[in-house]
């Protein structure tokens, strides 16, 4: 029998580990009796697997001591979910466990924010209508606004000399405060994003580090209190050329 009051929202909340034990049991009883909802839940779980299979490897290889592990609550709920239904792809579970628990050392902080930068690139660079919040035609306002929000004076590198014009920028959520994203575009519409965040961990300045996953490549570095991550779907050499230009402009 179907339990009254189980909605699709409950299926999402179940999958995302948002339910208390009592409600979770009710959802489990519900889907056990309702094959259509069980299939729906399985489809959403598979969707998570696909998303994670696609984007989680990003930057993992560059620095294995990554900061972003799922909290234990979620690991538990997914394992429990797998045990109950047995449909979750084996690969998903293996991937989940591989994240493991690693020390929160200084090095580990870099991939978490650089990964955020890469995800933000994937999210916003395809945008046709609203790629940025403030366009390059209001550059003074853009700089003043983002500097104020990040609490530190920012400068926008100009890359026209190497073929990339400024499209504009936007404010993004960072781990513990706002971050900025500047977008550039070349004559063919190829887009690059420069993600800037304040270096709250006071990490030491670093050389360029590189990570890639499929077409998305990222150079990231820390310079004078700010973390920079340059993302694009470019050849590594070309991206490095741009990263060098950004660095040199900010360090004249």
């Amino acid at each position: 029998m179907s339990r009254p009051g189980i909605s699709e929202s409950d299926l999402h909340a179940y999958l995302d580990g948002e339910l208390d034990d009592a409600r979770r049991s009710e959802v489990e009883a519900h889907v056990a009796a309702q094959p259509q909802d069980a299939a729906l839940l399985a489809a959403y779980a598979r969707l998570n697997d696909v998303l994670r299979a696609r984007y989680d490897p990003l930057l993992d290889e560059a620095l294995p001591a990554r900061l972003t592990q799922p909290p234990p609550r979620r690991r538990f709920s997914v394992m429990r979910y797998a045990a109950v239904f047995g449909w979750l792809a084996l690969g998903g579970i293996a991937g989940w466990q591989l994240h493991g628990w690693q020390g929160r050392d200084e090095r580990a902080a870099a991939p978490a924010w650089a990964r955020r930068a890469a995800v933000a690139h994937v999210v916003y660079s395809p945008e046709v209508r609203h790629p940025v919040e403030v366009g390059a035609d209001q550059e003074d306002h853009l700089v003043a606004w983002l500097s104020k929000r990040l609490g530190t004076p920012l400068r926008i590198p100009h890359l026209n000399g190497i073929g990339y014009g400024l499209v504009g920028g936007r404010l993004l959520p960072g781990e513990r405060g706002p971050a900025a994203q500047f977008m550039y575009q070349d004559g063919q519409g190829q887009r690059l994003t420069l993600y800037v965040r304040t270096n709250r961990e006071h990490s030491r300045e670093s050389a360029f580090r590189f990570a890639e996953d499929g077409p998305v490549r990222v150079f990231y570095w820390i310079d004078r209190g700010l973390g920079f991550a340059l993302s694009g779907e470019l050849e590594k050499d070309e991206l490095l050329r741009v990263a060098n230009a950004v660095y040199q402009q900010l360090n004249p």
Partner: protein, 74 residues
Amino acid sequence: MLEVRDIDLALRQLPVEQREVILLVALERMSYSETAKTLGIPIGTVMSRLARGRDRLRTVLVGESSGSSLKVVK
């Protein structure tokens, strides 16, 4: 079978509001309340965007192959 590469295309077809909620919840493993705080929106909005976004992604990714006629519980 879902193609991992198809997810890029499918994500691009989502409105930004739904895309960012899905990425924060599924990839960043943020709780609904963290996501709401991060984006400055109510939790109910997080949940509705998540549900709409996942529903659309599911349709895009498996719609053609499975001829999906699943009942969506409201």
